[in-house]
């Protein structure tokens, strides 16, 4: 009887650990997805393809701030592959740089949130937010969309 319980417990732990890994991948993918949707809205407003809307700008920047806060915590050592991840091994080889880039991203988004009062202030500060995207994707994300 003891053995059975032990087995059940062991399996439960194993499943728990496995799902924690795929959870990390699923969660960070969901966060980056919402980050992308927010970025698209901001990008369209910044280049004049969509009319400026202060509420949308603030909401989108807050979405980005949330992604910038949570995403870097979702790269445990055992989440290097699977789950359709496009994360490159370079993340774990250069963890300090990876985290530093996220720290800069957080700082720039926070600055943008504080600075955005109207269309002019938004358009001034928006490029400093976007310039963070490419650097990380070049080094740490596989090219496919």
């Amino acid at each position: 009887m003891k053995t059975i319980w032990f087995t059940v417990l062991a399996i439960a732990c194993g499943v728990g650990a496995a799902s924690a890994v795929s959870d990390a991948i699923a969660q960070r993918r969901a966060l980056m997805k919402s980050d992308g949707i927010a970025a698209k809205k901001l990008y369209d407003m910044a280049k004049g393809a969509a009319p400026f809307n202060l509420k949308v700008a603030q909401e989108s920047l807050n979405t980005m701030a949330e992604a910038a806060e949570k995403t870097p915590l979702l790269f445990p050592d055992d989440s290097k592959s699977g789950g359709g991840t496009a994360a490159l091994p370079a993340i774990w080889e250069n963890k300090a740089d990876f985290d530093a880039r996220f720290a800069k991203f957080r700082k720039d988004v926070a600055t943008a949130i504080n600075a955005t009062k109207d269309e002019i202030t938004f358009k001034t500060v928006a490029p400093t937010v976007f310039e963070n995207c490419g650097g990380c994707h070049e080094l740490y994300k596989a090219k496919s969309g």
Partner: protein
């Protein structure tokens, strides 16, 4: 008198010399032929050709951010082994400082070095061979303005039989037939410009086309992407899939700043492609979009008799 051993030896010798002869590197131009074209290179125009071709994406020294630091040495991992693009800085001994325009023309258009050796098609001459000769002359003029950098890239590290350079001669016979040369007929100048950039210097197909077991582009699947099953190795189709939903405007936006219609940012190798294409005139990115969204692309007109 019939002597089998003697006959076999002669046959083998004949076959070997025939193989040697047909695999010979053939330059496109002799220096005299090139001279008679009377082309003068313009470094300012050549700067744009440089970014159309994205020379720096492979030849920039790893760890550099200045595209003019062309010391080479980046490792390109392939199923055949590792290629290390050479130093193409203006250094006379380690780089290409002593090259004439005809040398660059033969390298890019025929995959043949000044020492009459084959280049591996890791140098994308299957695409570059569509380049205009004036563009090649301009590019040479521009490359001469790059600073000289000492040091050579490591030698390529390839498995047998790919390490036998002469074998490329057979590869060229098999895969560089004239059927893949674009026709450029019956279309407006913008479309032709787009076709030129995509199929020629831009060499988009080199990554966006699946390859056969010998590493040649499957021309019938031109630009259809690579679908390996592992998302990290996949290359998106430029014909169907998500790309089919992209507008011309979406393509121009993506090639200018990297932003895709879903708010993603092009990453990996595409980052340097975008960085280079962003330096071209807006009209060139529009021409690429017009060509990519048209239904008269290369795979259509190569099928025509």
């Amino acid at each position: 008198m019939y002597r089998p051993a003697w006959f076999a030896a002669v046959s083998i010798a004949l076959a070997m010399s025939l193989a040697w002869a047909i695999s010979a590197p053939r330059a496109r131009f002799t220096p005299g032929q090139w001279e008679r074209l009377g082309l003068t290179g313009d470094a300012v125009a050549g700067r744009l050709v440089f970014f159309e071709g994205g020379c720096d994406s492979c030849h920039m020294k790893p760890g550099q951010t200045d595209p003019m630091q062309l010391g080479g040495g980046l490792e390109l991992k392939t199923p055949f082994g590792s290629f290390y693009p050479p130093n193409i800085s203006s250094d006379p001994s380690d780089g290409i400082g002593l090259w004439r325009s005809v040398d660059l023309a033969n390298a890019l258009l025929a995959g043949v070095s000044p020492k009459a050796q084959h280049y591996y098609p890791a140098l994308p001459y299957p695409s570059y061979r569509h380049m205009d000769l004036q563009d090649v002359a301009d590019l040479m003029a521009f490359l001469r303005t790059a600073p000289a950098i000492k040091g050579r890239a490591p030698a390529h590290s390839l498995a047998l039989p790919f390490s036998i350079r002469r074998g490329i001669g057979f590869w060229k016979l098999l895969f560089l037939d004239d059927h893949t040369v674009a026709s450029r007929r019956n279309q407006n100048p913008q479309w032709r410009r787009g076709e030129y950039l995509v199929d020629g210097p831009g060499h988009c197909g080199e990554c966006h086309t699946p390859r056969n077991w010998m590493g040649a582009m499957k021309v019938q699947n031109y630009l259809e992407g690579v679908h390996s099953g592992d998302r990290k190795d996949d290359v998106p189709s430029l014909v169907s899939g998500d790309f089919a939903t992209w507008s011309r405007e979406d393509i121009v936006t993506a090639l200018t700043g990297g932003f895709t219609p879903v708010g993603d940012v092009l990453g990996g190798e595409m980052t340097s492609v975008v960085r280079n294409l962003a330096r071209l005139p807006q009209a060139d990115r529009e021409a690429i979009a017009i060509y990519l969204k048209s239904s008269h692309r290369r795979q259509d007109h190569i099928a025509a008799p």
